[in-house]
Symmetry: C2
Subunit: 165 residues, 2 copies
DNA sequence: GTCAACAATGCAATATTATAACATTTAAAT
DNA sequence: ATTTAAATGTTATAATATTGCATTGTTGAC
């Protein structure tokens, strides 16, 4: 029984709306302020549903005409959202993506499609355990995990298979 | 029985020399040319024994006075070395580090100390398996793995423990 | 050996990503 | 209302990486 992911068709507007609603709730709980610009940045991130660079966010905001922020404004909003776990930064892409489940702070592990850039956050216990075990063996105290697996998503595999004939 | 790693004292000159000799051999095998600049870049990377940014490499080369390369020269050398598996790029640091074992091409997994920046390449089967399993579950075909664990190395943990009194 | 072809490097300019420093505005608390 | 702290605006710049083209060096065919 598969859980729906970014690979599946879904009502994306609803998906963005849900993310925003979750974010508002989380900010209320934590006494953090989800200001206009922060909300707008989070919206762009979710709207793309793909890793989005800071300058891409900036451009999209400008295109919507609602604000014309300078880079520091966007980066500050992203910092805020990251601290709350609402977005993750993907180091290998210099990009940001919304987090499905910000309820408990965590580092995301990602499957990134080289072709369509669709990126899925996974959080499997065996992976955590394997990292923990490896760290322990080296006497290393883990503070943050960055796991970014690049490859080909199911949809693109199918597309490629279809192309060969 | 612990394998010696970057955490342990070792004869670093020998360590660099070994890396160079391995590189020469690998290039001979593959019919690739380890030119002067490529060898110099590889030497700097190994000499630091820590992740080193492209511009840091550039500066060090200039300091030695043997050449004053522009950025593209360094990046091209790094590209070459990466393709042969002689160095790995660490995305979360925008930096490069020598590979212990370039004999078979692979992606490194790293334990990166936040304090002293000592970085150890690990390559444990369970970690690979966990990633493979997770990818399979999502129908995702893995092409490259980027695993960068940030934390505190044994030496720095000891140092910190000593500081508390 | 000479020449053609290709690989590697030099070099200048510029793109992309990210931050520093300081001014201004907004919101909150007293 | 006034003070304070937080957030944002603004300008400049740092840090990382690439493009495009000229030049040099190496290799192999003849």
């Amino acid at each position: 029984m598969a859980t729906p992911t970014a690979y599946h068709r879904h009502d994306h507007r609803q998906c963005v709306a849900d993310a925003l609603s979750t974010a508002r709730q989380l900010c209320r709980q934590r006494g953090a302020k989800l200001t206009r610009i922060r909300e707008q940045v989070l919206t762009e991130v979710w709207d793309s549903h793909q890793p989005l660079g800071a300058y891409a966010i900036l451009e999209r905001l400008a295109e919507r005409g609602e604000c014309h922020p300078a880079p520091p404004t966007v980066y500050r909003a992203l910092d805020f959202l990251q601290e709350l776990g609402l977005v993750h930064r993907i180091a290998s892409l210099n990009a940001f993506i919304g987090c499905d489940d910000p309820s408990h702070p965590h580092q995301g592990h990602f499957l990134i499609c080289r072709h369509c850039h669709t990126t899925v956050e996974v959080n499997t216990a065996p992976l955590h355990q394997a990292i923990a075990q490896c760290a322990t063996q080296h006497g290393f105290a883990v503070e943050a995990e960055c796991v970014e697996v690049v490859g080909c998503c199911p949809n693109c595999q199918q597309r490629e298979a279809g192309d060969e004939h």
